[in-house]
Symmetry: C2
Subunit: 352 residues, 2 copies
DNA sequence: TCCGTCAACTAATAATTATTATCTTATTAT
DNA sequence: ATAATAAGATAATAATTATTAGTTGACGGA
């Protein structure tokens, strides 16, 4: 380890630039009146380069590490303005818990926005970075690059064993709850309106649905399995339309399981337009726990892990691991948040 | 204005706690050896309470904005998870522009979450705080407290003359565009489905509607003016229901102007359920430019200032003013973003 | 040219903080 | 019981920063 350089003083900066210490003091305290822009910038620049640190207190050494922050990164495809559904709740939960520890939450960008140079810059920031939370599924090399920064990385709604911590919803349990509810109501013919087809999550939900049905000696007619790409309202609508068209002239499914609340809303709207009565003709349920479930009547029957809780757990996990510990054989935690079931107004006894 | 409290010194902290200044110095520089935990914590706590700030440099006044960040605060009533509509777009715009300058965006909390102590903490962070953006209407004392920090404050979707910069939508123009469109289609009887009744924004939109109508020698029947508190989907639905009930048995309005896109969606849903055909029976328009307008068919006829542009302008304004300059007679900018009109599928010729 | 003005800066010094040698007290080893 | 040691603190003072009353010199107008 190199010998610790002695802390630089204002006088040294002054001498080096050929100005008075007074001027340096004025400038570093933000005085602009009667100070030339040139001096102002030269002084700040040198102070920066030399790593000048103010006297009197080092805030990052406070007993509870204040002023540290947690970075948030979104998977490709998500944008802040679209964050509406699941991840806005996650974000809320994350923020709430971190705020209690006076840790702030900084949005760093999308998976695609951040190149290596920008990641490196993160480390140059002076406030300590407690960790990075990744929302959704990102590519493995990206996650590795994050890990290489030596920062705690936590993935939410996706897991990457051995690369980072993760906090996950319990899809298996959600589907089990929904299938249990629906089969008890007499439903046997199911449909799956899937979204985000390219992501593992869609696949996980579909598999869980199949398993839960299989456990009851039911099977999912492959013709009733649909997949769209975004999982928004319009696609939910289109998906429902497609489903109805496909099942014309054969025994139609009576229980529609939607990938998420938004799609369910879209499907609901289609049903409303077509005069399909819910829940009399069709029961419609969704894997979701966001406000989309209750935003307007009818409240939807749904099951899922509360995204806010997922955010809260992510925050707790980061606080616990408390930065540092960048050993090679790090142990990573995978946390699975239990699912809760909520009987709404969109499911009822099977009439077919 | 109250006299600025003088900066507190280590000696004052020492005196108040009955210890030596030396000890305070040691502790605030992070010395733990041979210092009791009790002293360590007591000193940090008091330093915190009194808002002790180190000498030598105020990093947030640096000209160079490399590792600086912008804080975001939400008005009371908004939460991250509800941010869905307007402000998520604002946030997106803000972020996009700031990211280009490598400035990060940090969510600081809600108006209610932040007490004076926490605000002080912001100043002690080592990364320079370029400015604070406030989303929505907050109370004046709160804004003053922010200003007192000596940080650039910018209010979005609300203005507070002489206290901070602001970036605002052009409500007058939006309503003018909508009224122009509707009157050209032959509509003369208008209704206003208002939300966020307690906020000035609702009032501003209603007034603008009245003015635009007055300019055409039309008036707004007071019985057709409704106001609800949140402005969400359910309230839009309820509002439409109330309107229809109120106008039973008299000449009903043919043009519904909704406070925002979410309410419009709710109203649309009500219309759908009731068999009111849109746009054949009723034209429904909204003051909005969020994705709620196009999330699903029918796309809505709407006018408004693009919230993303508002966020972008806010970011540019902050970058331009570039921290610093805390003179007393600061000049504040009020920026008004023009409104754009979008003819959708929810408006048509008046049939009544 | 002379004078006033003002931006830009500094010298001098007041105020504050850092550092170190030293003190006190409790604990432990002998 | 006594000496050695160490934790926890301080007094004194060295080092650094803040502030104020100047100084300098450029510029503009009479």
């Amino acid at each position: 380890m190199t010998k610790t350089k002695k802390r630089i003083s204002q006088s040294q900066i002054a001498k080096e630039l050929g100005v008075s210490q007074s001027l340096v003091s004025l400038v570093l305290n933000g005085r602009r009146e009667n100070v030339s822009d040139e001096s102002y910038n030269r002084i700040w620049t040198l102070a920066d380069e030399k790593g000048y640190i103010p006297r009197g207190m080092q805030p990052n050494l406070a007993p509870d590490v204040r002023s540290s922050y947690v970075g948030v990164i979104l998977r490709t495809g998500l944008r802040l303005a679209n964050l509406s559904n699941t991840f806005s709740h996650v974000h809320q939960g994350l923020f709430t818990v971190l705020q209690q520890s006076h840790i702030s939450t900084t949005f760093l960008g999308g998976e695609g926005d951040l190149d290596e140079k920008m990641l490196y810059e993160l480390l140059r920031r002076r406030d300590p970075l407690l960790g990075i939370v990744v929302y959704g599924e990102v590519k493995e090399p990206f996650l590795r690059a994050l890990g290489a920064l030596g920062v705690e990385v936590l993935s939410v709604y996706a897991n990457m064993p051995g690369l980072c911590h993760s906090v996950l919803p319990n899809e298996k349990q959600s589907l089990e709850q929904l299938v249990d509810h629906l089969t008890k109501l007499g439903h046997t013919r199911f449909a799956f309106l899937g979204g985000n087809a390219k992501l593992g999550r869609n696949h996980a939900r579909l598999s869980a649905l199949r398993e839960s049905l299989a456990a009851r000696n039911l099977s999912l007619d492959e013709r009733n399995v649909l997949n769209v790409s975004n999982g928004d309202r319009q696609e939910g609508f289109d998906c429902a339309a497609e489903l109805v068209q496909r099942t014309a002239g054969r025994e139609a499914p009576t229980a529609w399981v939607c990938y998420n609340g938004l799609m369910a809303r879209g499907a609901l709207q289609f049903a409303l337009l077509r005069g399909i009565r819910i829940p009399q003709d069709i029961s419609l349920v969704t894997i979701d726990r966001t406000r989309a479930c209750e935003e307007i009547h009818p409240y939807m029957t749904s099951a899922g892990s509360d995204p806010q809780v997922i955010g809260e757990e992510a925050a707790k996990l980061l606080c616990r691991s408390g930065g540092g510990a960048r050993s090679v054989d790090k142990i990573y935690t995978d946390l699975v948040v239990p699912s809760t079931f909520d009987a709404g107004e969109t499911s009822g006894p099977c009439s077919a």
